[in-house]
Amino acid sequence: MSAAPLIEARDLVKTYIMGDEEVHALAGVTFTIPHGGYAAVIGPSGSGKSTLMNIIGGLDTPGGGALVINGADLGALDDAGLAGFRNRTIGFVFQSFNLLPRLTALENVELPMMYAGVAPAERRLRAGALLDRVGLGQRKTHRPTQLSGGQQQRVAIARALACRPALLLADEPTGALDTATTEEILRLFADLNAEGVTILIVTHEMDVARATHRIIEMRDGRIVADNPVPHHRAVPQGALT
């Protein structure tokens, strides 16, 4: 298990056809991320970062190539299998938080556990502990509209962690936040990574990218650079594949 990487992507292709024009959102992407990795994907707008994240998260399907995550071949999963994969293997954090506005912070965090079939009492307990963990112990019964952007994103992170995922995916998690709040979120990510959660984030900000251990740069649907961040040279072993 530990020998195999957590993410193994080979020749991933995604092509959109817009009228006569073909848009190669992904034009052959190959890389691996080891267990415990912490990497950032950067690149100009339209380079295919979100497309890649969505495919890794099981939300979208590639047009070609192979993708094995945590031992599961995503191409072979049916609807129920994919739902289980999104539920238990992946924790997704969105740029726009995507909390359900009618539910309290606690209920939002409970949501993935509901789909996992966790009993209500345990669900509540775990959601409470997660909110404590992200520093929102005092805001459990607040609704998203009663929380600041940074607080909402922390609720979203707690929700992403609810089913103890192997992989945390975050597409521009700090895109809507100010610098101070961004720092808080990054500290949280660093702590989580230190506890063994593999994290992959997409960002436009170099400061954010440099907080990770490895920077993957994309352009026109391809990986054009893939380098470890100097301070963390020793950590990601699979960095140079």
Partner: protein, 410 residues
């Protein structure tokens, strides 16, 4: 995989978000179920009423009247007005097997005057066997006997309505009244019977000896033997048809009616009349319930409409739920259950509204109320079915949504 409990809580929460919209959507089903329940109750009430009033006329009863039914009533052949005689009645009693009572009667109408009050009513000249034939009894006083009948005594037994109208505060028994100019003594008051199935007040009647009425009221002294009606009571329901057949055969012989000729009399079997009326009301009830069911259908379409709107509005929520691990089946169940809860709640409220409406209508029309367990169960099952039928398509649409597309939607 959501547990049923979570599913139900999620559906209930979604419906509470917009209570007015949920209530208006359910209103379609409420109206549909309420009208089905009310119509069925009304129909059943009418049927019960018919049954009750037919049996109040007398059970196992045949009524023979002059004239042929085929000719459209008594107007037919000249002379058929007078085709039934006392001798016919006696012959039936003597020769037809299985007869419990035979009662010839002569009908007329008269004005009764008592102590300044007067009242127009039906007067019936009868023999003592009339009470047995019609399952009737005397509430106070007594009935006249055979001797008084033979002697054409001027005595009368009055119905409950007549007693109430003429003697509101006193006992009529022993009082004297004037009927068509003659002075009569009231010797008894009949049991109250209520309305007949034909809408007639059966208690608005005066009974007097047959010969008395013939001579003094209906003015047919010339043909003293004719009667306007013969009531025949069979010993049991099983032999009613046989008695009807035998009585008709006997009368045909006595009236010398050849094969193929038209009868100058008609034997009415009350239970067969009742059956016809039952069938008519049944068809009518079915028709009304059918129309009501159409409104239930319209209610179902309302649910489908709102659920489709709701799926569109909540596209992002659906995308998010899928991203968090909801399977197609979870989404399908969530939205399907919303539709079912909506229509079941509508069905439940509709049942109560319908029962209240049925109660109001039946008590206004004087019908017995029957909202059976059966129609309650049918209403609820039917509304659940409406929820499933009209909620599946929107729920299916929701389940099919692509998570990425859904999340991108604003």
């Amino acid at each position: 995989m959501m547990t049923p409990r979570d599913l139900f809580a999620t559906a209930a929460r979604a419906l509470r978000i917009n209570p007015l919209r949920s209530a208006l959507t359910a209103l379609g089903v409420i109206i549909g179920v309420a009208s089905v329940v009310a119509m069925v109750a009304l129909g059943q009430g009418a049927q019960k009423q018919i049954q009750a009033s037919i049996s109040s006329l007398g059970s196992n009863l045949l009524i023979i009247v002059p004239g042929s039914a085929n000719q459209g009533g008594v107007r037919g052949a000249p002379g058929s007005f007078n085709s039934l005689t006392l001798a016919d009645a006696e012959a039936i009693e003597r020769e037809v097997a299985g007869v419990a009572a035979v009662a010839p009667s002569q009908r007329g109408s008269a004005q009764i005057v008592a102590q300044g009050a007067n009242w127009n009513t039906r007067i019936e000249g009868v023999t003592p066997s009339y009470l047995a034939a019609r399952d009737w009894g005397v509430a106070s006083g007594r009935f006249f006997d055979d001797r008084e009948t033979r002697q054409a005594r001027k005595v009368a037994v009055i119905g409950a309505t007549v007693a109430r109208e003429l003697f509101p505060n006193s006992d009529p028994v022993g009082e004297r009244v004037r009927i068509s100019g003659g002075a009569y003594e009231i010797i008894g008051v009949l049991d109250a019977k209520g309305q007949s199935g034909f809408g007639q007040d059966q208690d608005d009647i005066v009974l007097a000896p047959l010969q008395t009425v013939k001579r003094r009221v209906s003015g047919r002294q010339g043909r003293a033997n004719t009667v306007s009606q013969i009531s025949v009571k069979a010993e049991s329901e099983d032999i009613l048809a046989q008695v009807q057949e035998d009585a008709a055969t006997l009368l045909r012989q006595r009236h010398r009616i050849g094969e193929g000729d038209t009868d100058d009399f008609t034997v009415q079997n009350l239970s067969s009349i009742a059956e016809t009326m039952q069938q008519t009301t049944q068809v009518f009830t079915g028709l009304l319930a059918g129309i009501a069911a159409v409104s239930l259908l319209v209610g179902g379409i309302g649910i489908m409409n709102i659920m489709l709107v709701s799926v569109t509005e909540r596209t992002r929520e659906i995308g998010l739920r899928k991203a968090l691990g909801a399977r197609k089946a979870d989404i399908l169940r969530q939205f399907g259950l919303e539709a079912i809860v909506l229509s079941l709640a509508g069905g439940f409220v509709g049942l109560i509204v319908g029962a209240l409406a049925a109660w109001g209508i039946t008590s206004a029309m004087g019908l017995p109320l029957t909202v059976g367990l059966m129609s309650a169960a049918v209403a609820l099952v039917f509304s659940a079915f409406v929820g499933v039928a009209f909620g599946s398509f929107p729920a299916w649409r929701a389940a099919q949504l692509d998570p990425i597309e859904a999340l991108r939607r604003e």
